[in-house]
């Protein structure tokens, strides 16, 4: 099997695991971790294709994703902790104020 195919499949598997986690788990922290895994799966794709195309542009993207992820985690975890202080839960199904 070619290396690029292998890497793309691997990244797809990791992404699917993350997506399944988001769907099947209710703990906000775990869902958040799954989102991180999905981001990492995409990063892997970028780096693999960057290697394939012999260009650094994809890696710049990875760099940006890391910056975004860092900011996102800081804010996201702040929000989760904040919600926990108010409602003593980290279960996303308990937080449904946006219900129409």
């Amino acid at each position: 099997m070619d290396a690029i195919r292998y890497l793309l499949i691997l990244s797809a598997v990791l992404f699917t695991i993350g997506a399944a986690g988001v769907l099947l788990r209710r703990n906000a922290l775990v869902i958040f971790m799954c989102i991180e895994i999905m981001l990492n799966a995409v990063n892997l794709t970028f780096i693999a294709l960057s290697r394939q195309l012999q260009s650094l542009d994809g890696q710049i993207f990875v760099f940006m994703v890391m910056a975004v992820a860092a900011a996102e985690v800081a804010i996201g975890l702040g929000i989760i902790v904040s919600i926990f202080r108010h409602r003593a839960t980290t279960d996303v199904d308990d937080v449904s104020l946006l219900k129409g």
């Binding site: 997506a19 769907l23 209710r26 869902i31 199904d93 937080v95 449904s96 946006l98 219900k99 129409g100």
Partner: protein, 622 residues
């Protein structure tokens, strides 16, 4: 100085901004300093420009491109020529004096800063109107002064009459403005540009007689609204509900003359439309006459002056209507001085007597208010056209030019001159002579105005006397100054005839004064007898020819009825029905769709994944 002409606009604008945003915090002293110095500086710039553009055909000074859409382009440019410079100098000069007067007159008013904000805004808008180099900019100024007029007439809006008067002025002006706007549109449709210089340059080649008549009539319709001519004059007497300095500034000296200025500015077009010129001159003469008759029986001092203003504006239109544009501008200038003076003096009377304005409840004020009496007398003499006062020269110039066109117009003007002398000296004698009819308490408290009010009046009094000498016949500085813009036309060499006419109008003016003296001083019971004897005529005049009632019945009532029909039937049933129906529809849809929104993050994530799967499926099957 001409290069800095834009400062003329900048200073009042800064005054507006400072007083609008900080006026309530910085205290009355600072507010008045800001407002007065803004106009004062503006006046200095205007004087510089007045000197700077002498003899020039006009300079266009572009400031920035205002509108650019396709090949439609409007520059925000100043047109600096003798005509606009003269007008700007008159506007800023008179405004400056009235600003200072207002410091005293409005001293006790709780909305002091707002008053000066409006006043500065008015000067700013008026200068835009005057300095515009294209119709659109002029229209902005035109509407701007209309807005300020509305705001200031209704300044004491707690009084229902003031609020109503403001509305009336605004709506009546709107009627005229429609004509003005249509005229501008027609000009744009014909020329494809709105710039004065372009329009005037191309006009002789492009315009047919029908189009130019239509354009000028529409423009003149705007002028009848703003300058209170028949049939749209009815707002001006009511506008006296505003503070008196406002009446002096806006409703006598400056804004109402905008129509005259506009016609003079467009003289190239008007000269090409003789039919319109006839209309303008006739309406001017008719307005002058009818307004003067109404002033004869009015009892409210300010309203007398208001009718007098309408009448004098009629003179100006008579002048431009017979092609004597510079004579019209000359009378505009002298009128600005003496009419502002008369209003300020009336304001001084009100100030002294706690707002009393009915001349039948005044009288004998000569001894209590000597300064006010003196300046009022000077203003009245100028207005009546007593020889050697300013009004004499400018009015005579108009009558002389009218005579050349048509002796009938001259005769109407002459009779009006007689009536003018009678009504203004009636006001003078009844207010200041004889024994007082004022309430005792008011009478005892009557006092001369403070210096801040009397000094501007004295300056205006001097101007009202000497203002005429800039336009002496045969020496005419005004005509010479305006010559580059307003060609004087060839006046028939008349020599002796002109002097004869001069003498006739002098005799008429003095005769009018004598008549007033006889009627109101020598035989004070005579007017009452006369009014009984000619009761129908008296009633007709004192009810102002029933014009207000006529408009009420013919225009306002039907509109009201339509409005009521719409409000009571059409609106609730049809409009509201449609709106409510749509709202209900949206509500039903929303309830249906709302069940999709569970509020649970995971179900949203699920739908995202569904979308992703479908998109991927599309790529698979492609």
């Amino acid at each position: 100085m001409v290069a800095y002409a834009w400062l003329m606009l900048l200073f009042p604008l800064l005054g507006v901004l400072v007083n609008a945003f900080f006026g309530r915090r910085i205290g009355k002293r600072v507010v008045s300093w800001v407002a007065c110095s803004a106009i004062g500086l503006s006046f200095l710039v205007a004087l510089g420009v007045l000197v700077g553009v002498a003899g020039s055909k006009g300079i266009e000074q572009p400031l920035f491109t205002w509108i650019r859409a396709g090949n439609f382009r409007v520059e925000f440019s100043l047109l600096l020529d003798p005509l606009s410079a003269l007008m700007a100098a008159v506007v800023t000069g008179v405004s400056f004096l009235i600003h200072i007067y207002s410091v005293g007159y409005m001293a006790e008013d709780p909305r002091y800063a707002r008053y000066f904000t409006y006043l500065n805004l008015f000067v700013f808008a008026m200068l835009i109107l005057v300095l515009a180099n294209n119709y659109l900019m002029m229209y902005v100024g035109w509407e701007g002064v209309g807005l300020c007029s509305y705001l200031l007439i209704g300044f004491w809006f707690e009084r229902k009459s003031a609020a109503d008067a403001g509305k009336k002025a605004f709506i009546v002006n709107r009627v005229g403005d429609v004509g003005f706007a249509l005229g501008i549109m027609l000009i744009f449709a014909t020329f494809g540009t709105l710039q004065f210089s372009e329009v005037f340059r191309r006009a002789p080649g492009v315009l047919g007689p029908a189009v130019v008549t239509a354009i000028t009539l529409l423009l003149f319709m705007g002028a009848t609204g703003k300058s209170a001519q028949i049939p749209l004059y009815i707002w001006l007497p009511d506008a006296m509900e505003g503070p008196t300095p406002v009446s002096a500034l806006i409703h006598a000296a400056t804004m109402v003359t905008a129509g005259v200025y506009m016609v003079a500015r467009n003289h190239v077009l008007f000269d090409m439309a003789p039919a319109t010129m006839t209309v303008v001159a006739s309406i001017g003469a008719a307005t002058a006459f009818f307004a003067a008759t109404m002033a004869l029986v009015e009892k409210d001092l300010k309203r007398i002056l208001a009718y007098s203003t309408i009448s004098q504006l009629g003179y100006m239109f008579l002048a431009v209507g017979v092609g004597a544009y510079s004579a019209g501008m000359f009378h505009l200038t002298t009128h600005a001085f003496f009419k502002a003076l008369l209003f300020l003096a009336a304001g001084s009377v009100m100030h002294a007597l706690a707002g009393e304005i009915n001349i039948m409840k005044l009288g004998g004020l000569r001894e209590k208010l000597p300064t006010t009496y003196a300046v009022f007398a000077v203003g009245a003499a100028a207005l009546a056209g007593v020889p050697l006062f300013s009004g004499f020269f400018s009015k005579d110039e108009i009558l002389w030019r009218a005579f050349l066109r048509s002796p009938v117009l001259w005769l109407v003007g002459l009779v009006t001159a007689l009536l003018t002398a009678v009504y203004i000296f009636r006001a003078l004698f009844v207010t200041f002579w004889g024994k007082t009819r004022a309430e005792k308490k008011l009478w005892e408290h009557a006092h001369e105005a403070p210096a801040v009010m009397s000094v501007p009046m004295l300056i205006l009094a001097v101007l009202a006397v000497v203002g005429g000498y800039i336009g002496l016949p045969r020496l005419s500085l005004v005509e010479g100054y305006l010559e580059p813009v307003l060609p004087a036309g060839h006046i028939a060499e008349a020599g002796a005839l002109e002097w004869v006419l001069l003498a006739v109008s002098a005799v008429v003016a003095l005769g009018g004064i004598a008549l007033a003296y006889y009627l109101y001083v020598v035989r004070p019971e005579a007017p009452a007898r006369l009014s009984r004897q000619y009761a129908p005529l008296y009633t007709l005049l004192s009810r102002k020819y029933y014009v207000d009632e006529f408009y009420m019945a013919v225009v306002v009532e039907p509109l009201r009825r339509v409005g009521r029909f719409i409000a009571e039937l059409f609106d609730p049933q049809v409009v509201d029905g449609a709106v409510n129906g749509l709202a209900r529809l949206a509500g039903v849809c929303g309830e249906g769709l709302g069940t999709l929104q569970t509020g649970r993050v995971r179900s949203y994530a699920l739908s995202i994944l569904v979308g992703v799967v479908i998109i991927l499926g599309y790529f698979l099957l492609r």
